[in-house]
């Protein structure tokens, strides 16, 4: 398995810049997710790694070797477009063995590797079945098998679960990750679904408007969003972003929000009086009857494990709180709000970047 690294990758289609000056490294054996909304450049990035598009500028290294202008067929990479693309008239064995036979691998070797692959995917009992009769989950396993059997340097997957319903997607996420744990193949996975990325990835690169907005582990991106865009894109419901006006001096440990003084992680930089945004995750909002920050309950959504409570504050900010489902909350009632201080983020509203603090030690990335 090989490391993939991308240096100053840039791709323009006529006037449209699809990918701008992106640099990142996918360590060997990493499960790496390119995450972002449609049109952010994630698929174009993947297609350049695969060799299906040529970059306008920049370099792509696969296992240390420069492959920027190497043909797709000469890069030792397996690209899985849609897990469903199988040969319906062939049996499972022939489908999985197809890439090897077309490379001229000897029959005995094909047989050995197909059986090995089937064992990894736990579909040995299906080897002699026709593909057309299989359940959708099994068809996906076969399609994966066809990618794995080649033992490529890396796997590239483009929204492979996009067409599935929620239940099947959850199941396949679990299986893909378990498979990765068994074979530890370098994987670049493109998705617009933050939950898929959060549940499977070792590393997430969140893209926005052609550029990489933040790279980090799922927990890192969730806890320390580098920008308001990241804060809003990751998490369901996303981070609450509460606007206020104020100034921050290095060392400050609180901010004033209307009548309430709220403790925040110690500021590591200062900013002159301007429009700021306080970011708080729904699970870090607590309903506290007598707290000075007042809010009215608009709606509750029971989710079994937890419930989501939608509230409006006195100055019309709408917030969501995730609280235990056994607490009784009624629409219309008024409550106080409390935030978990050590988990709060502050953003500069005009640029969207996170201000450095005890929580956000690193420089936030300003949006162009």
């Amino acid at each position: 398995m090989a490391e993939i690294s991308v240096h100053n990758l840039h791709k323009a289609f006529a006037d449209l810049v699809a990918v701008r000056d992106s640099t990142f490294t996918v360590p060997a054996g990493d499960f790496f997710c390119l995450l972002g909304p449609s049109g952010c450049g994630k698929t174009t990035t993947l297609r350049m790694i695969a060799g299906l598009e040529l970059p306008t500028s920049g370099r792509i290294l696969l296992g240390g070797e420069d492959v920027t202008f190497v043909r797709a067929s000469q890069r030792d990479i397996a690209f899985v477009f849609q897990l469903f693309a199988l040969y319906p008239h062939l049996d499972v064995r022939a489908n999985i063995g197809y890439p090897l036979r077309s490379q001229g691998v000897r029959r005995r070797e094909v047989r050995r590797r197909v059986e090995e692959t089937a064992r990894i995917l736990r579909i040995t009992h299906l080897l002699d079945r026709r593909v057309s009769g299989l359940a959708s989950g099994d068809r996906q396993r076969v399609a994966l098998g066809r990618a794995i059997v080649r033992e490529p340097l890396a796997f590239l997957l483009d929204e492979p679960l996009g067409a599935l319903d929620a239940e099947m997607r959850e199941l396949m996420c679990g299986e893909l990750r378990a498979l990765h744990d068994r074979i530890a193949a370098t994987t670049v996975y493109v998705t617009h679904d933050q939950l898929e990325a959060m549940s499977m990835a070792d590393t997430i690169a969140l893209m926005n408007d052609g550029a990489v907005e933040q790279i980090g582990s799922p927990q890192d991106i969730y806890d320390r969003p580098a920008s308001m865009f990241v804060a809003d894109f990751v998490g369901s419901p996303p981070m609450n972003l509460i606007r206020f006006h104020g100034r921050i001096a290095p060392g400050d440990r609180s901010v004033r929000l209307g009548p309430a003084v709220l403790a925040v992680p110690e500021a590591r930089e200062g900013i002159e009086e301007t429009d700021l945004v306080l970011g708080v995750r729904p699970e870090h909002v607590r309903l506290a009857g007598d707290a000075p920050l007042r809010a009215q309950v608009l709606e509750t959504e029971y989710l079994g494990t937890t419930q989501i409570v939608t509230l409006t504050t006195a100055h019309d900010a709408v917030l969501k709180a995730r609280i235990a489902s056994d607490v009784t909350v009624r629409p219309g009632e008024t409550t106080g709000l409390d935030f978990r201080p050590e988990k709060l983020s502050l953003f500069h509203r005009a640029s969207g970047r996170a201000l450095r603090s005890a929580l956000h030690e690193r420089e936030g990335r300003a949006r162009a």
Partner: protein, 346 residues
């Protein structure tokens, strides 16, 4: 608005029994959600209520009146389909006004305007009234489609997966709005979905359908906490319930017929094994931000539990596993009552 009663409805298409002996009452002002996978009979039930299909057996009544043989037009229902179908050449205003301008209604233009504006306000599309339907985003179009049903005051609204063509963020927003509007209007809604989150968050009561049969009817909380069988238990809740063989936890007291134990992820308590005894090994930790899912290998079976992001547990740690409020299922998947609580459990 009157209550609607479905009494022993059955409908067969060829060999396929789409709906089998289905009875339920939609109460006045209730949002009743029919939940089930594709092919469970949800849409057929809705079409039977609308009069778009005729049942092989059973009756549909509203306010005591038998409507089974009535054509759709005389049933006083409004239907919202999954795919929004708007008139592309008309403005949003005219799309919303369309149902009110039907010749049979004889509504004055002033009344039409008042009604359209009220609904546009509820749906937050007041500033779009002059736009052409084709200039709207997907979410706005679906709001207009819902609005076109809401401008009328039928005795029941029938909604067939109205949010399923929208992206996740918009769906979450409209879920809340639809529920708020339903409450403000006091509307009676029969709502069909395969999305358990929609069912859980919106429903007054949920009817779980499986192969044409109504398997369970109750509030979201009743169904989540007290599922009648393992299919219902698996259908609700995200992450889904752990269903493990009885033999995995031999020391757990359980009814004799128990084959499967079900336990919700939030009801699995784990702690680091201190005295060397252990039941499971942490295999993987999924960081989902607001919660961690810990995958614990117990023998060959994976048990998923919710963990505090700051628990300090790591893959490879040996843990003791405790289950709170387990559910017991027999060989057929039916729920078994716990001896001591037999009277309390349905």
């Amino acid at each position: 608005m009157p209550e609607w009663r479905l009494e022993g409805l059955s409908k067969r298409f060829g060999h396929n029994q789409a709906v089998a002996d289905l009875s339920l009452t939609v109460a006045d002002g209730e949002l009743l959600v029919l939940l089930g996978p594709t092919g469970a009979g949800k849409t057929t039930t809705l079409r039977l209520v609308a009069g778009l299909e005729r049942p092989d057996d059973g009756r549909v009544r509203a306010a005591g009146r038998d409507l089974t043989r009535e054509p759709p037009a005389s049933r006083d229902v409004a239907f919202v389909f999954q795919q929004y179908s708007l008139y592309p050449h008309l403005s949003v205003y005219d799309n919303l006004a369309f149902p009110l301008r039907a010749p049979a209604r004889r509504m004055s233009e002033a009344d039409v305007a008042a009604r359209v504006r009220e609904i546009a306000r509820l749906l937050h599309i007041e500033d779009k009234l002059k736009s052409r339907a084709t200039q709207l985003s997907g979410g706005q179009m679906q709001r207009v489609a819902i609005g076109r049903a809401l401008v009328r005051r039928p005795s029941i609204y029938l909604m067939d997966e109205p949010l399923s063509s929208l992206d996740a963020k918009l769906r979450a927003e409209l879920r809340i709005e639809l529920k708020r509007i339903q409450r403000e209007l006091g509307a009676t809604i029969l709502y069909v979905t395969h999305d358990q989150t929609e069912a859980m968050t919106m429903a007054t009561r949920i009817g779980v359908l499986d192969r044409g049969r109504l398997v369970q009817l109750g509030t979201p909380r009743e169904i989540y906490e007290n599922p009648v069988n393992r299919q219902v238990a698996a259908r609700l809740g995200s992450p889904s319930v752990n269903l493990v063989p009885r033999s995995l936890f031999p020391r757990l007291p359980a009814p004799a017929e128990t084959v499967t134990i079900g336990v919700r992820t939030e009801h699995v308590r784990i702690r680091k094994s201190t005295d060397g005894s252990s039941v499971g090994v942490v295999a993987r930790i999924e960081h989902l931000g607001d919660q961690n899912h810990l995958h614990v290998a117990v023998g060959d079976t994976m048990v998923v539990t919710l963990g505090d992001p700051e628990s300090g547990l790591a893959p490879g740690d040996h843990v003791e596993v405790e289950m709170v409020a387990p559910l017991f299922f027999d060989a057929r998947g039916d729920r078994l009552p716990v001896q001591a609580e037999r009277s309390g459990v349905e």
